[in-house]
């Protein structure tokens, strides 16, 4: 099985090839670029924005912005850091405009609870699937910055300092977000599962 890390490295290299083509005048290559990075953009925005339509609009804006600034990409950071930072800032601007200044809103929680209850039938789910659904549920209860940091670290495979540059904050803050978030998640999972189930 290909690990997250290897997959992300290959995305990075394919992204660089796309940029090379686009800068050489091959506009169609941007389609591949979108397909490579849409998961990253969507996974960050989904942690910060509740409304699906707004999310789609914002993701589109981000890619168009990326296209317009493609020749500004200096190559001194990873593409995912560059796009990630753009995404994070765009989301924050959106939230500020929408006066959702408080990032620790619980709308997302309600929203996902509603969705979860309709399909949460643990009978035919394996234990890991069950645990992963629980984990989603618990992750949604965390503050937005923690959710974002967790996703960037565990799903997108970014390092501490890359996350720090995406979120424009010191590396120490990223670490403390991650540590505190995981500690909370572990505590909450231990409330639901036997210790033996987690230790395996």
């Amino acid at each position: 099985m290909v690990s997250n890390k290897e997959m992300n490295e290959s995305i990075e290299n394919r992204g660089l090839i796309c940029i090379q083509k686009i800068l050489a005048g091959e506009q169609e290559a941007f389609r591949d670029f979108i397909l490579l990075f849409q998961r990253l953009v969507y996974s960050i925005t989904s942690k910060l924005i509740v409304c699906q339509e707004d999310q789609d609009d914002i993701c589109q804006t981000i890619f168009i912005k990326a296209y317009q600034n493609l020749d500004q990409f200096r190559g001194d950071s990873k593409i995912s850091t560059w796009i990630g930072k753009m995404t994070y800032n765009t989301c924050l601007n959106y939230l500020r405009r929408k006066k959702h200044l408080c990032l620790e809103d619980h709308h997302i929680d309600h929203y996902s609870n509603k969705h979860q209850n309709t399909r949460d039938t643990p009978d035919h789910l394996t234990e890991t699937q069950d645990m992963s659904i629980r984990l989603h549920h618990e992750m949604n209860r965390l503050p937005a910055q923690m959710r974002t940091a967790l996703t960037l670290y565990h799903i997108q495979g970014l390092t501490y300092d890359e996350i720090a540059s995406v979120m424009s904050c010191p590396e120490g803050t990223v670490k403390s977000h991650l540590y505190r978030a995981r500690q909370l998640l572990k505590k909450r999972l231990l409330e639901k599962y036997q210790k033996e189930e987690l230790i395996g």
């Binding site: 090379q20 005048g25 993701c59 168009i64 540590y179």
Partner: protein
């Protein structure tokens, strides 16, 4: 016995360079409780890596963007090897002249044959540049050389940005 903190255990899994790997591993080796804590974190990491909720990306997402992409022609940056070699040569040449016309240049200690030879070459160049080394011309030459070096460095920096990184990364 003082147990490991949750932070230390996570730092160990992350491979955080700020931790004391030796002390943590020594403790893990002899403490079952902390090993159990480590295991539950490892489970958490594994579940988290596989636990991305469906992202609901529209099927025609890329098409929608391609349809509204603005017209834009990117300025092409031609970065040929010759250009880079030329720039390096220009920068070296300018630095050379700066050293040569400098009143503070110390010649090499004439202890070996190659030092003597170099000194002779330096001396010849210095003589031929002698007419320029009065105060006014000297300052002008320094100024021009300085600007030339600055320009070379700036151009090199530009050339070595994206395009070259792309080139090196994709050819590995």
């Amino acid at each position: 016995m003082k147990h490991l903190t949750d932070h230390e255990i996570q730092a160990w899994i992350d491979g955080d360079p700020g931790m004391n790997r030796f002390l943590i591993e020594a403790h893990l080796h002899q403490c079952r409780e902390c090993r159990d804590c480590l295991k539950s974190y490892q489970t958490l990491y594994t579940v988290m890596e596989t636990a991305e909720k469906p992202l609901n990306i529209p099927v025609d997402f890329a098409d929608r963007i391609m349809a509204q992409l603005p017209e834009k022609s990117f300025k092409r940056r031609h970065a040929s090897l010759w250009k880079i070699i030329g720039l390096f040569a220009a920068a070296t040449f300018a630095t050379g002249i700066m050293i040569m016309t400098s009143p503070w240049t110390q010649y090499f200690n004439e202890s070996s044959e190659w030092a003597q030879r170099l000194n002779r070459i330096f001396h010849a160049i210095r003589i031929s540049l002698h007419w320029m080394t009065n105060r006014f011309y000297g300052t002008m030459i320094w100024l021009i050389c300085g600007i030339c070096i600055l320009f070379c460095l700036m151009t090199l920096d530009k050339l070595f940005s994206c395009k070259w990184r792309v080139h090196f990364n994709t050819n590995q």
